[in-house]
Point group: C2
Chain length 240, copies 2
Amino acid sequence: MRILVTNDDGVFSPGLCALAEAATRFGDVRIVAPDVEQSSMAHAITSSRPLLQRRARIGRFDAWRVNGTPADCVALGTHLWEHVDIVFSGINLGLNVGNSMWHSGTLAAAKQAALLGFRGIAFSAPETGDDPDYSSIRSYLDTVIREVLGRPELSLVNVNFPMRPRGVRWTCQSVRHYDGRVVPARDPMGREQFWFVPVPIEAPEPGTDRWAVDEGLVSVTPLRLDLTDHRALDQLLAEP
Amino acid sequence: MRILVTNDDGVFSPGLCALAEAATRFGDVRIVAPDVEQSSMAHAITSSRPLLQRRARIGRFDAWRVNGTPADCVALGTHLWEHVDIVFSGINLGLNVGNSMWHSGTLAAAKQAALLGFRGIAFSAPETGDDPDYSSIRSYLDTVIREVLGRPELSLVNVNFPMRPRGVRWTCQSVRHYDGRVVPARDPMGREQFWFVPVPIEAPEPGTDRWAVDEGLVSVTPLRLDLTDHRALDQLLAEP
């Protein structure tokens, strides 16, 4: 099995190396990832300039670093390496749950894989400082990969780990709240500026991704790539 | 009614001015849009640096130009202007149908409005050269705005115009095909590079956005902001 590994934190992220190490227990691994951090880049692609790839060595893996977005890396990576079976994206330095997933470059890489006809899994874990230790999630990482690989009907899956997992749960996306807003600030010259900041969300709905992680459970969410509100559309089309 | 108008082609795009002119027939208009083109930026937000806003005059409208993405502009615009009722995004210079909508900054601005609890409508039309003429779609633009404003249950709507409309149709997103791929090229120094290019899609499925525009119909697609594959999730949760 050919597993393309990418992320949005950049090719030298420790989370990427940890994911590649896990992936190598399941197949052949190649890394194609952004040359610089691409956090919050969502499903952006680069359409106004060419993409370049350069070689890198990440641990014991061949890697390509690309001057583009996570979605670019998947498009280019699956062009350069034929017969890819699945794309793993992450491990992101920070969770991607609820409506924050709309801005996620990590998830976008997995979405891009699904758009191109491959499978995609996004992996995220809480950010824990300069030198993250993934030993506490390693066995759960293998469990989740094995579980998802065994269900080929799932083309797109979003996985979020708590710091010290005590189980795994199938979940839905938490959609009740949105956790981003703009706040004013001043620069050192006293001029007005604005920051896009996350706001804490309390009491997430049971059964959701955010709730599972809060409960110490690995959240595994099956996603689909159809934005249509089919319920609303059916009602509109049924009108006389 | 307060209508915030934005886009992804940048604040000086002729499509933005045309949309603001239409919006002013329905309410008070303010423009908050990217200072430079942000095409294909999808739902990216700016999290690593502050946002700045500067004033501009666009036709007879007050405008703010922002050094950020379309989604940033909606977050900042609804912060600066209280009690916004709805966000109009566009008119994009180019269609946003099918799976290409995943990369759309125009649609992302409308999505950001919905995430923040407002309503959002994205408008797109074919790109027709340096000085686009929107006179052929003007009456349909008013018709669609009136129709969507009258249905407050629709929080997120994607509208695509053909060049010379002959009707309006409620549609779903075309999800069967994806129209982006990477192709190799050479720069003037002979070095290998890659371009992310669109590929033509033929024979779109009847009832979809892409089909409607091909048929000369204005496509109006109700969207939802929940990526969960609920059918797959229900099956997974029903397992013993």
